[in-house]
Amino acid sequence: MRRKDVLDLDDFSAEELHEVMETAEAMREVLSRPIKRVPPLRGKTIVNCFYEASTRTRVSFELAGKNLSADVVNVGASGSSVEKGESLVDTTRTLQALGADMVVMRHPHAGAPYLVARELSAAVINAGDGWHAHPTQALLDLFTVRDRLGSLEGRKVVIIGDVLHSRVARSNIWAFTTMGAQVVLCGPPTLIPAGIETAVAEGRRRRWGDGIQSGVQKEHAAVKVQYDLDKACQDADVLMALRIQKERQAGALFPSLREYSRLYGLTQERVARAKFGALVMHPGPMNEGIEIMPEVAYGAQSVIEEQVTNGVAVRMALLYLLAGGHGGRAV
């Protein structure tokens, strides 16, 4: 992989996504060995900079780095010089001066990792920035679906709920459409960004031109909006529920959680409308009984736990590929 940073997936070609997936498969095999530690990042230092709460992403990055024999340091907003008013760029420059080869960053503001990536020579991985992007979550979602269903070409992936505030949804749109899947966004009109279909199409066209990108059929690789979840579930291969972000619901974008749950909660009846063997996913943490019913979340079609497990392998793959991306010549 010949890039310094991973900030979002809008600039990933299908080949690059395949490369990450294949490497992640090799990493998952490593995780199945009695000794899970491999040495490729020996002597490298990874700093996890988490300015926002996180369990699975932070722990999974930490494990991924340690499994590759890197030194991993965790920095949070509280207890660091951020409390003394140090700017983001100064903090990360300091981290680089202390010897960080890679910076993994979670930040409440969209674009923060981009700013840091521009200022540092170290590799920067976006671990979630505001509402904007969460590329490693999308990569592990992609990996999980590919692992279970094989090719993504022509698959129908339904992303349900609060798309407006969801960085997971945004990165997943790029990942799945680039692999040739059709993404259907379903939720209350107030939680679906206006004009997102054309925005995605325009974004793709600007990035890849009008031609067919890497063998991906243009007609598949598109986003559609559907406000009726019962209809959206029909013929779906993947049902992905998003978390209702109670902390971001100040503007009263829907009448009540009860009404939301009735209209957009993932129930067994709705899962039954999808294709036989369709996958149920959730990026976590879940509000059980609101966007997803417990019997669905822990049912036979749920791959939610696999998503978490695969997260370590996918992040190992990314760290491994980035470590060679700019330093040495990849032969």
Binding site: E22, T23, V30, I35, K36, P40, G43, G324, R329
Partner: protein, 215 residues
């Protein structure tokens, strides 16, 4: 500058060498009990599978075959950068207490084998680890030797040994590749006409084992 190929083993030669190695393995271990063949990616894997088929033919015992990608254990990752061509390894069973025979096409500096030793140990503690190679071309940089050798081939460091196997390259043969006219050539730099590492990592060309530190 032309790359000339001198044939070392043809398809029959490869077959005879593998047959002999299979017999030697059985003789040394007094049978096939507890054996596990681990092929080193890429061309060690089909060779290991063929040895297993021969052993099955001679003894009627199915020997498990594993596949090892040793890239992550290489000692030149820091200087050469991590590679994209990382492939999945697989071990058919627990290696603890097994007698493992590593199988590779060419033994050169020994660095790949050192990486393979470390890789296999991440699966457990085998009772014994041995090494079988189709060609030993010398120029060792580490204290490593092969237990079973198909062909000992004295080479110059500027020369390259290409092992081609049916499963990957469409034919079985071993050739010595050398440049004409003799030119000063740094190891790792290849002349036109010789397949590059990039090319065969995509699986389209045969392996040229010429560069030190090549997997």
């Amino acid at each position: 500058m032309v790359a000339a190929e001198r044939p070392i083993l043809d398809a029959d030669g490869v077959r005879r060498a593998l047959t002999r190695i299979a017999h030697e393995i059985l003789e040394r271990h007094q049978g096939a009990e507890g054996l596990l063949l681990a092929g080193l990616r890429r061309r060690g894997v089909p060779l290991a599978e063929r040895l297993a088929a021969l052993i099955q033919q001679f003894e009627g015992v199915a020997v498990p075959v594993g596949e090892l990608d040793v890239t992550m254990f290489r000692d030149d990752l820091q200087t050469r950068g991590t590679r994209s061509s990382l492939q999945r390894s697989s071990m058919p069973q627990d290696v603890t207490e097994a007698r493992v025979v590593l199988v590779d096409d060419v033994l050169y500096t020994g660095r790949t084998v050192r990486a393979a030793l470390e890789a296999i140990l991440s699966y457990g503690r085998p009772q014994q680890i041995q090494l079988a190679v189709l060609v030993d071309r010398g120029h060792r940089e580490l204290p490593i030797r092969a237990d079973y050798v198909g062909k000992n081939l004295p080479t110059a460091q500027g020369e390259q040994v290409a092992v081609r196997v049916q499963e990957i390259d469409g034919r079985d043969e071993v050739v010595l590749v050398h440049q004409e006219p003799a030119s000063v050539q740094a190891p790792g730099v290849q002349a036109p006409g010789v397949q590059t590492q990039e090319a065969h990592s995509r699986g389209t060309h045969s392996r040229v084992a010429g560069q030190p530190g090549e997997p």
